[in-house]
């Protein structure tokens, strides 16, 4: 078997394939539309890359199947079993009104109707001690009732199971005995944190997606076996680590943002190589703009996120997504204010300039009018764009109603789209206690290159980096992921009551739990790395800060750890209370199975071909009259070359624009690094 690896990233519009030959660092890429049956797209891509499956060591798959199942509400018919007195918690939620001016505000409806939510007698207290034992007669009756209702899956959520899962585990055993065909998830197996509604929501979503993901992965595996693939198939998780097929099948909820996570892992890996520790990952796709931060070399994570307003408690890379991309629609609101997105055109007909019948003005149409895109070289000549159709769409929808000329309207669309993205980046950085000026932007996704120059100026960032093959960068990122398992547990003890030995004991027990899960990946123990974190807060607070637990913390009655709370709280909330009593709310262990990282092939000193393709008139708002920019072929730019702005740099599937006052240099691996000249 060779060292070849393949990453497959399924996105909303495209499936991206990146094949890596680890002995040479050579990569091959391809893109296919993501419409139709995913299993078919998967193997079509493999066929088109002409890969020898028998020689592949590893396939890493980032999938949108779980998130789509949840967003489109096309999951399985399932039931829920809860502690007596609490079956309505799933529907009552937290009771808050997220839209304060909306008189018709309605929370998301529960995915399980009330008659399929059953209760059984059992009760633990907040210390995990049994108040009422599990009534096995009621438990069996509940399972039989759900079986009679022909549910495909059963979620089990008992109060305080985060601290003692015994009743839930017994319930799972009973369910497997009474109804072995059902997919069963108990809440303590998907997360060990308090807050019953959020835990129930996570558990229910997991069961909801389970049958569908299991069928999909089984069918991939069958076809791979038929084709004599003998390597491993790994699945990307929201945490940015990969996991085994069986773990993904048991825990689909771990994979919800697996695609975007690949890009962020790629950004962190790129940063390591470039010696840049603070980076903004800015992924511009056709419909969404995803932003995440890499700080001190580590992607920022969070423990909770939402899918269609439904909470999910899982370690997840902290990605903020807004509806902004090439396909975003430019429209006028009732007050005649120009808005960009959040709606975007469907993949078909697409932007007006595609000539497939679209009549709405999009960001892509504006970019074409402004001269940023070459109508004859879109997606590497796979598609021809119509300037006339773009002009009509912008004229009719924007320019005429606002009394502006076409170019000014197009420049306005681009400017507002750019500002929306800049605000998204500003908000995530300042909200997490950082200053955007201390970060470099890594712009990728098919559309990233056209926004990089604008965002660099607007945010006064350190630099903007466009990796090679930005359109398939997220797939490349998958190749950089390590195996990862997380385990967390609500601990809830004031510092005053925790001894060094007690904390050590607790972490040891967590580590042995996570190691057990890890054995099936086949990673040798010598290749694993363990990290511990504590979520801590001052007494009386609700929000926590998460800090790493280091070896040095097991001294001086845990004072170093207590001091880290002050330091991190200061960063996040501009406030430290060193005198205040504090508590440890939960403990988290992360085990990484370190994989070999792809080598990046340095560029050849003098790539063949002439970089200059020609000159084009372009229009940029804030730079007045028409500018003339050279159009360059990226693949012909040698390492070390420097391109003064404005310039257009084209490559297959992506175009980069630099502004006046900026200069782009090519590093030895082919990354394009844009800086302001006056820096």
């Amino acid at each position: 078997m060779t060292n070849n690896r393949l990453a497959i990233d399924v996105g909303g519009t495209f499936v991206d394939f990146v094949a890596l030959d680890e002995s040479t660092g050579e990569i091959q890429i391809d893109k296919a539309p993501s419409s139709g049956l995913l299993e078919e797209r998967f193997f079509e891509g493999i066929d088109s890359l002409d890969l020898d499956l028998t020689a592949l060591r590893n396939i890493i798959h980032g999938s949108t199947l779980v998130i789509n199942t949840i967003v489109q509400e096309r999951g399985a018919r399932i039931g829920l079993i809860t502690t007596k007195g609490f079956r309505d918690v799933l529907e009552l939620g937290r009771g808050n009104r997220e839209e304060i001016y909306n008189l018709f505000y309605t929370p998301p409806p529960p995915l399980i109707e009330r008659y399929l939510r059953l209760e059984v007698s059992e009760r633990l207290d907040a210390r995990g001690e049994v108040v009422t034992p599990l009534d096995e007669g009621e438990a069996r009756a509940a399972i039989r009732q759900l079986k009679a209702e022909r549910v495909e899956g059963i979620a089990v959520v008992f109060l305080h199971s985060y601290i003692n899962p015994a009743h839930e585990e017994r319930m799972r055993a009973l369910a497997q005995a009474e109804y072995p065909q059902a997919a069963v998830t108990i809440s303590s197996e998907v997360c060990r944190e308090w807050r019953e509604f959020e835990r129930a929501s996570t558990t229910v979503l997991n069961v909801y997606a389970k049958p569908k993901l299991a069928r999909y992965l089984a069918s991939l595996q069958n076809e791979l076996q038929r084709r004599k693939f003998a390597g491993s198939l790994s699945i990307m998780q929201s945490s940015g680590g990969i996991t085994s097929l069986s773990a993904a099948q048991a825990g689909p909820i771990r994979t919800t943002v697996s695609g975007p996570a690949g890009g962020v892992i790629g950004v962190a890996a790129l940063g390591t190589r470039l010696g840049e520790a603070n980076l903004v990952a800015a992924d511009v796709g056709g419909t969404t703009f995803d932003v995440a931060l890499v700080s001190q070399g580590q992607p920022l994570e969070r423990n909770e996120h939402r899918i269609n307003r439904r909470p999910v408690l899982q370690p997840t890379i902290d990605i903020v997504s807004i509806g902004a991309g090439g396909g975003s629609i430019a429209w006028l609101d009732e007050a005649k204010g120009l808005r960009i997105g959040p709606q975007s055109v469907e993949a078909e007909p697409g932007p007006a300039c595609y000539g497939l019948g679209g009549a709405l003005a999009t960001v892509t149409d504006a970019q074409l009018i402004l001269g940023y895109l070459d109508p004859d070289y879109y997606l590497g000549e796979r598609m021809r764009l119509s300037r006339a159709l773009a002009a009509t769409a912008i004229d009719e929808n924007v320019a005429k109603p606002l009394g502006m000329d076409l170019r000014a309207a197009a420049a306005g669309i681009m400017h507002l789209a750019n500002m929306n993205m800049a605000y998204a980046i500003r908000n995530i950085t300042i909200e997490r206690g950082h200053d955007p000026r201390e970060f470099s932007l890594v712009c990728y996704g098919g559309g990233g290159g056209l926004f990089a120059g604008f965002l660099l100026d607007e945010l006064e960032a350190a630099s903007a980096i466009i990796p090679l093959n930005p359109a398939t960068f997220s797939a490349w990122g998958l190749l950089n992921a390590d195996y990862r398992e997380d385990y967390s547990r609500t601990f809830l003890k004031p510092f005053a009551d925790v001894s060094v030995e007690q904390l050590k004991r607790e972490l040891d027990s967590l580590e042995s739990d996570v190691r057990e899960r890890f054995t099936e990946t086949g990673i040798a123990p010598s290749q694993t790395m363990t990290q511990f974190h504590a979520a801590m807060r001052y007494l009386g607070q609700e929000h926590t800060v998460k800090a790493p637990i280091l070896a040095a913390d097991f001294a001086d009655e845990l004072r170093p750890l207590r001091q880290r709370l002050d330091a991190l709280h200061e960063r996040a909330y501009a406030l430290a209370l060193p005198e205040s009593a504090a508590e440890i709310v939960s403990l988290q262990v992360t085990m990484l199975g370190v994989t070999a990282k792809p080598r990046i092939k340095p560029m050849s000193a003098q790539p063949p071909g002439e970089p200059l393709k020609g000159n084009r008139a372009i229009h940029i708002r804030d730079f007045g009259s028409r500018l003339v920019a050279p159009v360059l072929r990226r693949e012909c730019l040698a390492a070390g070359s420097e391109v003064p702005g404005p310039a257009i740099i084209e490559e297959w599937t992506s175009t980069i624009l630099t502004l006046p006052g900026q200069a782009a240099t090519v590093d030895e691996y082919g990354n394009l690094i844009i800086k302001r000249v006056d820096q």
């Binding site: 008189l103 019953e196 204010g337 502006m404 909200e431």
Partner: protein, 549 residues
């Protein structure tokens, strides 16, 4: 100078909204008091130099509309020349700022090139304001001086210099000085963030362009609002309700009455017919009464549009002097929220005669309370505050949502059972729908909530809030009215008591004692006989029908 182009106008409008959002991030990140960073009991805005709102941040509805008038009150009191660069002012005199004394406004004038160009302002519930009841929300005061410290456009910072005596005086007169100090600093930081962003925009576009762009936005928003009002049939639409009592005169219900006049593209809201100022603290200051009318108008016409001064131009609000919705000094206002909640629902009820398709039936009203032990001799002190969610009024097109917090509390989430049991000596026995008390209809009101607590220790007291137990939340167009919210004490024992009023220092409850809180549902919408059989089948299947159905 030529007119500002539409793109620049839109960029500036978005930039001001982003600046207000940044003020909010700054406030939430630096506040010490969970009422601010979790319940979001605040409002914030940028106004122009005349106190007209340019952009608002999120928070509680109603607060934002109070900030413009607060700044205008300051302009009246001090004059333009009375403001200097670097000033930070405090104001909470409720007749000028609109709510109750705990909601203290902090605002600052913004100068560019030596000229007053704008204000950044916010209002937040302080952890304490030195009144009769710790933390505010006095249930039984009869004049404002019992409610706490009054600020009337007083400068905490004068031209950038902190008045230390004033600050010390404030902190010496509140119960939780560290919390208050932290929140005050957070509010100041947020004001300064707003000022910084506004000044950056002045540098980029020029103060004149900013002014012109926002005038244009005001004009556009006004034109749009006029168009929206024109869609409402002309007429005078009235509604009224009897409130239970004012917290002091417990046997004396009082009336709130409103008439909404729609004429062409203008709307006028008149509170003639409302009872005189009441003796207890449930009066609602007129500035807030006006702000809530604006909130309702916006909610009915364009709930998702960022609000600015232009939206408000076509709306006028009036009330005779000295009523429960226009009290004068020294009326008590600390429990203003009961009336505030009803102001919103009453205007919707009046307009339901004109635009039924946009108006939900009435929701359950403010209910819940606190479970606490204050005296350390009786055990470790704690306080658990529990505003209970309830049923929302039915929509003209769907059943009302169940278990949503009352409108005035906005985006505040409940406390999970696992958190309650981890923190307090309480066990939650049930957290379920309350199937009683939702109004039937073609579309039924949302269900209220039942939450039952068992005490795990001795000497525990409770306080409750409740309203509209005499005239209950109404249905619309043949939909039934909702039931009442109530608390049962010592559930399942011979001492069992049903409590519909407001109690405080009630108890003591001892280990094993049970209390059951049940909030009302919402009113129904439309004739119950027209209910879709599929909905009836849904209710039947899910056990949502009561025995009498």
């Amino acid at each position: 100078m030529s007119q500002v182009d539409p793109i620049t106008t839109q960029v500036i409008r978005n930039a001001l909204k982003a600046a207000a959002d940044e003020m909010m991030i700054s406030l939430i990140k630096t506040a010490h008091n969970p009422l601010i960073y979790e319940v979001q009991d605040f409002g914030l805005a940028l106004t122009n130099d005349r106190g007209e709102m340019l952009a608002e941040g999120s928070g509680l509805p109603g607060f934002m509309g109070c900030l413009g008038p607060t700044v205008q009150s300051g302009l009246r009191a001090l004059g333009r020349a009375g403001f200097r660069e670097g000033d930070i002012l405090l104001a909470n005199e409720p007749y000028e700022t609109g709510t109750h004394i705990s909601d203290t406004a902090v605002y600052m004038p913004i100068f560019f090139d030596g000229e007053l160009v704008a204000f950044s302002a916010l209002m937040a519930h302080w952890a304490d304001i030195g009144g009769k009841t710790p933390g505010g929300w006095c249930p039984d005061t009869t004049d404002i001086h019992q409610e706490g410290l009054i600020f009337f456009h007083d400068k905490l910072y004068e031209a950038g210099a902190l008045n230390q005596t004033f600050q010390r005086f404030i902190l010496n007169n509140v119960r939780f000085p560290e919390l208050v100090h932290g929140d005050l600093n957070a509010m100041i930081a947020a004001c300064r963030t707003g000022a910084k962003r506004y000044i950056a925009l002045c540098k980029r576009y020029g103060a004149g362009v900013l002014r012109q762009a926002m005038e244009r936005v005001f004009d556009q928003s006004e034109a749009l609002m006029r168009a929206k009002i024109s869609e409402i049939p002309d007429g005078a639409y009235s509604a009224s309700v009897m409130m239970d009592h004012d917290g002091v005169e417990l046997d004396k219900p009082y009336r709130l009455a409103v008439t909404v006049c729609v004429r062409g593209d203008e709307m006028h809201v008149d509170w003639t017919g409302t009872a005189s100022t009441v003796k207890g603290p449930t009066n609602h200051p007129f500035v807030g009464t006006e702000a809530l009318a604006q909130t309702v108008l916006k909610s009915l016409t364009m709930p998702f549009d960022p609000m600015n001064h232009g939206h408000l131009r076509p709306l006028t609000v009036a009330a005779p002097d000295n009523t429960a919705v226009s009290p004068l000094y020294p009326a008590a206002t600390d429990s203003y929220g009961y009336v505030g909640e009803m102001i919103i629902h009453l205007i919707v009820k009046a307009l339901a005669q004109a635009i039924p398709e946009r108006c939900p039936a009435c929701s359950y009203q403010m209910f819940g309370g606190a479970i606490y032990r204050m005296d350390p001799r009786h055990g470790e002190p704690f306080i658990y505050i529990d505003p209970l969610a309830g049923g929302a009024g039915a929509f003209p097109h769907a059943d009302g949502p169940s278990g949503l917090i009352f409108v005035g509390d906005g985006n505040a989430p409940n406390t999970p059972t696992e958190v309650i049991e981890g923190r307090y000596p309480l066990r939650v026995l049930r957290h379920t729908f309350n199937l009683k008390g939702a109004g039937k209809g073609k579309f039924r009101g949302g269900f209220g909530v039942t939450r039952e607590y068992q005490m795990l220790e001795d000497n525990i007291l409770i306080q409750t809030m409740n309203e509209n137990t005499i005239e209950t939340p109404w249905g619309l167009y043949g939909g039934e009215d909702a039931g009442v919210s109530q608390l049962t004490a010592w559930t399942g024992t011979e001492r069992e008591q049903t409590i519909r009023g407001r109690v405080y220092f009630y108890g003591p409850f001892n280990k094993g004692d049970i209390i059951t809180q049940s909030s009302a549902g919402g009113g129904g919408w439309g004739d119950p006989n027209e209910r879709d059989p599929a909905l009836i089948e849904y209710d039947r299947r899910n056990g949502l029908l009561t025995p009498e159905d």
